[in-house]
C-alpha cells in the first residue's frame, strides 16, 4: 500500500511538471516564427538555468565594485571583487607555505628524537603534532567538522525523542511547554553556560577532542535540537489513519510499528526539520566561534577584524563568501538527501 502511495505521488508530480513546461512553451510560441521545437526548448532552458543567474551575479559584482570604491573606512577602501580575489590567492599561498613549514617541523622533530634516544635510551618518543598556525583552509575544515558532528549528535537525540513525543499524546503535553520555551532561545545565550559546564565536567589529562571543539559542537547541537524534535513529532503524529490501522490489523509490535510504518511515513518531515536546522546551525556556529574564540571560520573573521591591517577587510570578505558558499552546499546536500529518501516529494521544490 505504501509503495502505491509513493508511485502515485511521483506520478502526480511528473504530470504537473509536464504541464508547466507545455504551458510555457505554448506561451512562447505566440507571435514567433517556428524554429525547431527542441532547439528552442534547449535555448530557453540554457537561458533560464545558466545565463540569467550569470547575469545576476555579474550585475551584483558591478554594484559591489561600484559601491566599494565609494566607501572609505579607516582601514582603507572597502574591498571590491578584485581585492577579494587577490586575498583568496594570498590565503591559499599562505596555506601552501604553512604546509612546507609543517614538513620541516616534523623533520626537525625526528632528528631531535633520534638525538635524544642516543643519549637517553629509555625515552619513549611521541610525535608531537604541528604547532604552527591554522590556515584558512584548516579553519574551514574545523568549522565543517564542528557543524556536522553537532548536527549528527542533535539528530541522534532529536529523532528518537521526536518519535516518542509524536506517538504519545501525554508525553507530548508534558514536553511541549519546555520545548516551546527553549525553542526561541538563541544558542548563543547558552554558550557561556556550555563553556563553564564543559570546562568543569570534561577533565582529562589527554583529551580526545579539545574543549573549544566541544563547546562549539554542543552549541550547534542545542541549535539543531528543537526544529528537529518539533518536525519529527509533527511528522509522526500526522501519519495517515489508514497506515496506523493497517499496523493495528497486522498487530505489529511497537518497535516494528516504528520501523515499518512510523519512520517511513514521517521521513519527509524529519528531513525538512534537519535541513532547516542545519541552515541555522551553520549561521550560529560562525557567531559562536567569533564569540568564544573557538577555532573555525568565525575566529578567522574576528582575528582579521582585530588585526586591522590593510588587507583585513578583503580577507573577511573572502570568509563571508566562503561561509555563504558552504552554507549553500550544505543546504543542497541536505536537499538531495531529502529528495532521495522522501516518498511524497513535498517541500522539496527548491
Amino acid at each position: 500500500m505504501q509503495a502505491r502511495t509513493e508511485l502515485s505521488a511521483q506520478g502526480c508530480l511528473g504530470e504537473r511538471t509536464n504541464m508547466t513546461t507545455e504551458t510555457a512553451l505554448a506561451n512562447n510560441n505566440i507571435n514567433k516564427p517556428i524554429i525547431s521545437e527542441s532547439l528552442k526548448t534547449t535555448i530557453t532552458k540554457t537561458f533560464k538555468t545558466l545565463l540569467i543567474p550569470f547575469a545576476g551575479i555579474l550585475v551584483f559584482l558591478m554594484i559591489w565594485a561600484g559601491a566599494a570604491s565609494k566607501i572609505d573606512t579607516s582601514l582603507g577602501k572597502f574591498p571590491g571583487p578584485s581585492a577579494v580575489w587577490e586575498q583568496m590567492g594570498s590565503l591559499y599561498e599562505e596555506h601552501s607555505a604553512e604546509r612546507v613549514k609543517e614538513q620541516a617541523f616534523y623533520e626537525r622533530q625526528e632528528k631531535r628524537i633520534e638525538a635524544r634516544l642516543a643519549k637517553d635510551p629509555d625515552y619513549v618518543p611521541k610525535i608531537r603534532a604541528y604547532t604552527g598556525k591554522e590556515t584558512f583552509p584548516d579553519q574551514i575544515f574545523t568549522s565543517l567538522i564542528t557543524v556536522l558532528s553537532g548536527f549528527v549528535l542533535a539528530a541522534v537525540i532529536a529523532i528518537p525523542l521526536g518519535i516518542a513525543i509524536g506517538l504519545n499524546k501525554t508525553l507530548n503535553a508534558a514536553v511541549n511547554p519546555v520545548i516551546q520555551i527553549f525553542k526561541p532561545v538563541s544558542p548563543l545565550a547558552w554558550l557561556p553556560l556550555v563553556t563553564m559546564v564543559v570546562s568543569a565536567v570534561y577533565i582529562s589529562p589527554d583529551p580526545l577532542v579539545a574543549k573549544s571543539f566541544l563547546n562549539s559542537m554542543i552549541t550547534v547541537t542545542l541549535c539543531c535540537l528543537w526544529p528537529m524534535v518539533i518536525n519529527t513529532s509533527v511528522g509522526v503524529s500526522s501519519i495517515e489513519k489508514d497506515l496506523v490501522n493497517v499496523s493495528r490489523v497486522l498487530r505489529l509490535p511497537a518497535l516494528k510499528h516504528v520501523q515499518k510504518i512510523v519512520l517511513p511515513a514521517s521521513i519527509p518531515m524529519i528531513f525538512t526539520g534537519m535541513r532547516l536546522s542545519l541552515g541555522v546551525a551553520w549561521m550560529v556556529l560562525i557567531a559562536a566561534e567569533m564569540l568564544a574564540q573557538n577555532p573555525g571560520l568565525g575566529k578567522f573573521v574576528w582575528d582579521e577584524f582585530q588585526n586591522g591591517s590593510s588587507n583585513s577587510l578583503a580577507r573577511i570578505m573572502v570568509a563571508v563568501i566562503v561561509i555563504g558558499f558552504i552554507g549553500f552546499l550544505l543546504d543542497r546536500t541536505m536537499l538531495q538527501l531529502q529528495r532521495f529518501v522522501s516518498w511524497d516529494k513535498a517541500g522539496t521544490a527548491s
Partner: protein
C-alpha cells in the same frame, strides 16, 4: 631593613622550600622537559614579541618544547585560560598575576619567572580633543609641541565637558593593567581625578569622585571604539596608538616612557602549580624566552625589522608592517608627521628588562592601594610578601645560569645574581618628579596629592 626582618625568615623559608628543587637541578644538568606540548596565549600587542620570536627562531624547540601560540580575545579570557589549564602560560599584564594572587578578581596563584619588556604604551586622544588641547601646550622653537605633554593641557577640556554635563570617557585595557595605572598616573599628575575603586562595597567601576571616567576596552578594539565616539582617548600598547595616526582618527600625546622612564610592562605568567609540577619545563621555557628577548635587542636593535615582519603575520599581531615598525624600530609618530626618536620605546632585554624585580611588583601594588583596589592599609612587609609570592627571580636565575653554562648567554647579560636583592635603586624618572623606592611603599603612596594615602578609606 628593620621592617623587613620579621618577614624575611618566613619569605625565605617559603622561597627555599619551593625553589629547593629548582636550584638543585640548576647545579646538576638541566633535565628534559616533563611536559613537551604547551599552549601559550597572547593579546595582539607588539610586546608579545618574545613569545613569537622564541617560536619562530626555534628557541622553544631547542628546549624540546612544542609550543602552540594562540591569540586571546581579551585579558580576562586569557587569565581564565591560564587558571583553568586551557593555556599553560601567557603574555600577561604585570598586574594580573599580582591581582590574582591576592584575590582581586579571580583568585589564583599565578607566578612570573620572566618580565617581558619595558615601556611600549602610549596615550592617544581623538582629533577633536587634540584640537581643544593643543592651544594649552607650550611650543618649541620650531613650532612643534614641547614634550612630554602633561595632562595639565587636558584639564581645561575635561572641565569644559564636566561643566556641560557630558561624561569624559577614556579607555584602558583592564582594571589591573599597566595602562590603567599609567593613564591614572598621567591624569592625576595633571590634576585630573581618575576615580577610586571600592571593591569592599562592591564598586569595581573605578569611577568614584572621577573627573575622567575610565572603562575597559580590549586593545585591538581601541581605535574602533574611539572612532565610534564612545571614548575620547585611551591608553594602550602598540600598535594601537600608531594605528590611530595611520587611520587619522587620533593623536598620541604621551608615551609611557615619558610618564615613567623604563617602566616594567608585561610579564610571562604561569600557575604556581605548573611550575611545581613541571620544574624543568618552567626553566626551559624561561631559557627560550630569555634568548628571544636577547635576540630582539641584539646589536642595537638590528633584528627589529625582521621581528616586525614576523609580528605582522596575521596569526601574531597582524597589523601592517609600517604600523608596527613605527614604534618597534625606535621612533614614535605623535601628531601626523611629528615623528620623534624614542630608541627605548620598546625594551626587551637591555637594562635587565627581563629580570623579575620585586620592586616592580610593589610599584603595581602601591598603585592598587592608591586607587582603592586594595581598600585597606597594609604594612610595608605585606607588599614585599605578595611580591615574593608572585615574582620568581629564582627560576629566572636558574635559567640564566644554565644559559651561561651552555654559552648561549654571557654573565654580563644579567644582573649580578650573587648581590641582587630584587629591588631596583630608587627610581627618579617620573613625569611628576616623585621618587619611587620599592622598599618603602607606604611612604611612596603618601607623596601623591591625588590618591588614597595611609589611613584613607573610601
Amino acid at each position: 631593613m628593620k621592617w623587613f626582618k620579621p618577614l624575611k625568615s618566613v619569605a625565605l623559608s617559603a622561597l627555599i622550600s619551593v625553589s629547593g628543587l629548582v636550584s638543585m637541578q640548576a647545579k646538576a644538568e638541566l633535565g628534559y622537559p616533563e611536559k613537551e606540548e604547551l599552549r601559550f596565549g597572547f593579546i595582539k600587542l607588539t610586546d608579545m614579541a618574545p613569545i613569537a620570536i622564541a617560536y619562530e627562531k626555534g628557541y622553544f624547540e631547542d628546549e624540546g618544547l612544542y609550543v602552540t601560540i594562540e591569540a586571546q580575545a581579551n585579558w580576562k579570557v586569557l587569565l581564565d585560560g591560564v587558571i583553568d589549564g586551557r593555556l599553560d602560560g601567557a603574555h600577561m599584564l604585570a598586574g594580573q598575576p599580582i591581582a590574582a594572587t591576592m584575590g582581586y578578581g579571580t583568585k589564583a596563584e599565578i607566578i612570573t619567572p620572566f618580565s617581558m619588556d619595558l615601556n611600549g604604551n602610549g596615550i592617544t586622544v581623538s582629533n577633536e580633543i587634540w584640537k581643544q588641547m593643543k592651544p594649552n601646550i607650550p611650543k618649541r622653537a620650531d613650532g612643534k609641541p614641547q614634550h612630554p605633554i602633561k595632562a595639565d593641557a587636558l584639564k581645561p577640556v575635561v572641565e569644559k565637558y564636566k561643566d556641560d554635563g557630558k561624561p569624559f570617557n577614556m579607555g584602558m585595557v583592564f582594571p589591573v593593567s599597566t595602562h590603567n595605572y599609567e593613564l591614572r598616573y598621567w591624569l592625576a599628575a595633571g590634576g585630573i581625578h581618575p576615580g577610586y575603586y571600592a571593591p569592599h562595597k562592591g564598586d569595581t567601576s573605578g569611577q568614584i569622585n572621577a573627573d575622567a571616567l575610565l572603562s575597559v576596552t580590549p586593545p585591538p578594539q581601541m581605535p574602533a571604539t574611539m572612532e565610534a565616539g564612545t571614548i575620547y582617548g585611551y591608553c594602550v600598547g602598540e600598535p594601537w596608538n600608531q594605528q590611530a595616526v595611520f587611520k587619522n582618527i587620533g593623536v598620541p600625546v604621551v608615551t609611557d616612557y615619558e610618564i615613567w622612564k623604563d617602566n616594567p610592562e608585561k610579564v610571562f605568567g604561569i600557575t604556581k602549580a605548573f611550575a611545581e609540577k613541571y620544574p624543568n619545563t618552567t626553566i626551559r621555557l624561561t631559557r627560550a624566552l630569555i634568548r628571544a628577548a636577547k635576540w630582539l635587542d641584539e646589536n642595537n636593535n638590528a633584528n627589529r625589522p625582521e621581528a616586525v615582519k614576523i609580528l605582522s603575520q596575521s596569526n601574531y599581531v597582524g597589523a601592517d608592517y609600517d604600523v608596527i615598525a613605527n614604534s618597534m624600530t625606535g621612533t614614535f609618530e605623535y601628531e601626523k608627521g611629528d615623528k620623534r626618536e624614542v630608541p627605548d620605546f620598546n625594551v626587551f632585554f637591555r637594562y635587565n628588562a627581563t629580570y623579575p624585580y620585586y620592586s616592580d611588583a610593589i610599584w603595581y601594588l602601591t598603585q592598587m592601594r592608591r586607587w582603592g583596589q586594595i581598600p585597606e592599609d597594609k604594612p610595608d612587609a605585606w607588599y614585599v610578601d605578595i611580591a615574593k609570592k608572585v615574582y620568581r627571580p629564582d627560576i629566572y636565575e636558574a635559567a640564566a645560569r644554565s644559559l651561561i653554562k651552555d654559552k648561549l648567554a654571557k654573565v654580563s647579560d644579567f644582573p649580578n645574581f650573587a648581590e641582587e636583592d630584587g629591588f631596583r635603586n630608587p627610581q627618579t624618572h617620573f613625569i611628576d618628579g616623585i621618587v619611587y623606592n620599592g622598599k618603602k611603599p607606604n611612604e611612596y603612596i603618601n607623596k601623591f596629592s591625588i590618591g588614597l594615602k595611609q589611613g584613607d578609606k573610601i
